[in-house]
Every structure is written in C-alpha cells, then in structure tokens.
Amino acid sequence: VNTEELRDLIIEVLSDIAPETDPAAVDPTEDLREELDLDSMDELNMITRVSERLGIDVPEKDYPQMRTLEGAVAYLSGRLAARAG
C-alpha cells in the first residue's frame, strides 16, 4: 500500500463518516476534526475502519498522530513498513 492509496482510503472512510463534507479538499496539514467538523466519536470510527481495512491495531496513545491527513498517512505508512520489515 503506497501513500497515495493510504490517502485515498482515509478520504473514502471520512466521506462515509461525514458525507456532507469533501475530505479530498481538506488541507492535509490541518486538523481533520476542525476541517470536517468531526467529534470524538467520528474520529474513533475513522480510526477503527482504517485500521480494520489495513489489518493493523492502532494503540490509543497514537491517535493524536492521525489528526491530520498528512499525519495519518505518515503514521500508517510507518506501521505498515514496520510490519513488512
């Protein structure tokens, strides 16, 4: 899974959680919760679905790393690379 596919996956999940928004248009460095008006339940639903699709377990202490699109892609890339390596 490359970074582009990770980004697409996150956007797809976010589009489902916040259907009235356009996650693809969000600045990748901005806080997703503010940009898409997500609350903590939305945030955990996003993390749950993305981690399930990728087959990885995201510990709670790592959630803050997934608060931006860029951060989430970087974090998940790292996790997947660690698993592969």
């Binding site: 008006d37 339940m41 939305d42 709670e60 202490k61």
Partner: protein, 350 residues
C-alpha cells in the same frame, strides 16, 4: 444559581441551545477578546458554537462566582483543548457540544468534565475499541436497543472522564473502567421537572450539587440568586457505594437543586444514573504530565485532585489509579449528559 444558606455550590452545569445565528443575548456575554476570536473563525457553524459556548461559560462563571467580574475573566485553552480560566486555578471548567446544544460545567472541587450527545446517536464505534476489558461482559446480555443506550451512557461518561483527567491527551478510553451504581439501561428517573411548556426544546438547566454541611461553613461569599424561577431542594447527599455495587435507588437522586435559569425554558432534566470511573494513569508518565501541564494550567496536577500514589515496583512506578464520580442526566428525552468530577468523599478531604 440559587443561594443556599451556609453553603455554596461546588459544581454547576448548564446547557444552551445552539442556533445557526446566536441571539443578541449570547453575543452580549462576549468580551473584546472573545469577539476577536469569534471573528477569526471561518466556518459559520463553528463560530456560532464558539459564541454560544463562550456565553454559556461566562454566564455560568458569573453565577458560580458573583464576586468576580465575568468580563474580566480570560478563558484560555490548554494544549489538550481543555478550557481554563487564566489566573483562577481554583476554578475548573469544562465544555461540550453536539448538534443544537452546548453544555458547560464549573467546579471548585477539582477538574470537572462534561459531555453531551444526542440520545438517538447510533454510530458508536465497536465496543472493543473503547471499553475496558472488565466492561465488556455485562453489556453482552442486553438486547440491541438497551445495549445501544448503555454504550452511549458509557461513551459520554468516558468523554467526561477524559476531560477531568489530569492530562486529557494521555487518557485512554480502554483504561477507564466504569462502575455503574444504577444500570444505565434502566429507564431514566425524573428528579425535577421545571417549567414544562410547549414549544421547541430550549433546555437551560442548572443543577447544583450541595456539599455536605461540614465541608464548608459559609466563610466564602455566597452565591447570589440570579434565577428567575423557584428552586427545588433535595437534601440527601449522594451515596458513595462501593465500586462495582449495583443498586437501583431511583427515588434518591442525590443532593441537588434543579431549576431553570431562563424563565421561558421548557422541558426538564432527568437524573438517570450515577457511577464511578476508574482511570489508570501511567506511573512513569505522571511526573512528565505534571511538568508539561503546569505551565498551561496550574490546576492540572494529579496530586491535587484525588490521585492515589501506588507503590514503586522494580524502580518503575506502577499505574496510578484515580477515581471520578459520574452522573448522567437526560434532557428532554433528546440529549444525554455525563458529568465527571472528583468524588465527594475525596473532594472534602484533600
């Protein structure tokens, strides 16, 4: 907030409807600094939310501490997002909002957390993602709708507990275990019904927790009566059952007075449960948490609010445990509110 002879409330909370355009009375509470912050918010709905939340918090602070000038209080946010009142480390505040409603709490006893959700919310994340292991078995027996409600109660309670955590950004939901004294799946119990009128829900309630008479003896300023309606008083202190104990004391809702602040607010708040939350705090992380938080909020020291020190094992501190009291309220059968606060027995014996 009502005046109670000899004592002052330790915790007050209140809700306020969020409209697309906040009414003038909400704007009137905002200071120059608040207005500047509001003007910088791009999204109209986010700005409306900010204005209502800020007005609600200032009104509540004014009611809680009439000796302070609400316009002179500077409300800031910690890194975690938790609001605090600059220079008033003894005041603890919490904010929450959902579609259409903002909720705020102010306490003098230690960090407080409030969380509000729509009772109809049905998109809860899978339980295994956020329940502590000990919480899972008892929910498996419930039928789907009761289970949804029970989970929703636990969700708002954990969100409130996280806000009352010494360091909210380090709190983990799966390390918060809730012990419910009244099962959240039990039907809510109305403890006070005030001013029920037809019309849309404009819930604005203040619920005051009265301290035990011995705790404070009136040496501090009393709280002026700013409410327009009469108050009801309960006189029974909230019981502090053993953690894990289940009881169904529907008719003993705790020491409280419930009243509307605005005379035209229909509907009611129902107390619908109480419990305790057990928070595990990382031993090794605690000194770091206290140090990093001390600059932003002097109130965030875990030692000041009921944390119990655990023995040091093999040179590494074991996880510390902190208990919070949790109360749930239903508003007008539409919203569910949880409030987490230091337990009374700890708060009165610092």
């Amino acid at each position: 907030v009502n005046r109670v002879d000899g004592v002052r409330p330790r915790l007050v909370w209140q809700t306020r409807p969020i409209h697309a355009e906040p009414p003038p009375e909400d704007w009137a509470w905002l200071t120059e600094g608040d207005l500047a912050r509001a003007a910088a918010i791009a999204h109209p709905s986010a700005m409306a939310r900010f204005v209502v939340a800020r007005a609600l918090l200032r009104e509540l602070l004014a009611a809680f501490r009439p000796d302070l000038d609400p316009a002179a209080l500077r409300i800031e946010s910690e890194v975690s997002g938790r609001p605090y009142v600059a220079g008033e480390s003894h005041l603890h505040v919490s904010l929450s909002h959902t579609d259409g409603l903002a909720a705020a709490a102010v306490a003098a006893t230690g960090p407080v957390g409030i969380d509000v959700e729509h009772l109809s919310r049905d998109d809860l994340p899978p339980a295994r993602m956020w329940l502590a292991p000990a919480e899972l078995p008892e929910l498996s027996r419930l039928d789907p709708e009761l289970k949804r409600l029970a989970l929703l109660h636990r969700w708002v309670a954990k969100e409130a507990a996280i806000k009352a955590h010494p360091c909210p950004q380090l709190a983990e939901r799966r390390r918060i275990t809730l012990f419910c004294q009244q099962q959240p799946s039990d039907p809510p119990t109305v403890v006070g019904r005030t001013d029920v009128r037809p019309g849309p829900v404009e819930a604005a309630h203040v619920r005051t927790r009265l301290p035990a008479p011995v705790a404070e003896s009136g040496q501090r300023p009393r709280v002026a009566d700013r409410s327009q309606s009469t108050a009801e008083h309960g006189a029974t202190p909230i019981p502090s059952p053993a953690p894990g104990a289940a009881s169904a004391e529907h008719d003993q809702p705790s020491a409280s007075s419930l009243r509307t602040v605005h005379g035209d607010t229909p509907s009611y708040a129902s107390w619908c449960g109480t419990g305790r939350a057990r928070l595990e705090l990382d031993g090794p992380g605690r000194p770091r948490m206290a140090a990093s938080d001390a600059t932003s909020s002097p109130s965030a020291s875990p030692a000041s609010s009921g944390a119990s020190d655990e023995p040091v094992v093999d040179g590494q501190a074991a996880p510390a445990v902190r208990w919070l009291a949790v109360d749930w309220y239903a508003l007008a059968d539409r919203f569910l509110i949880a409030i987490a606060r230091p337990p009374d027995d700890l708060a009165s014996h610092p």
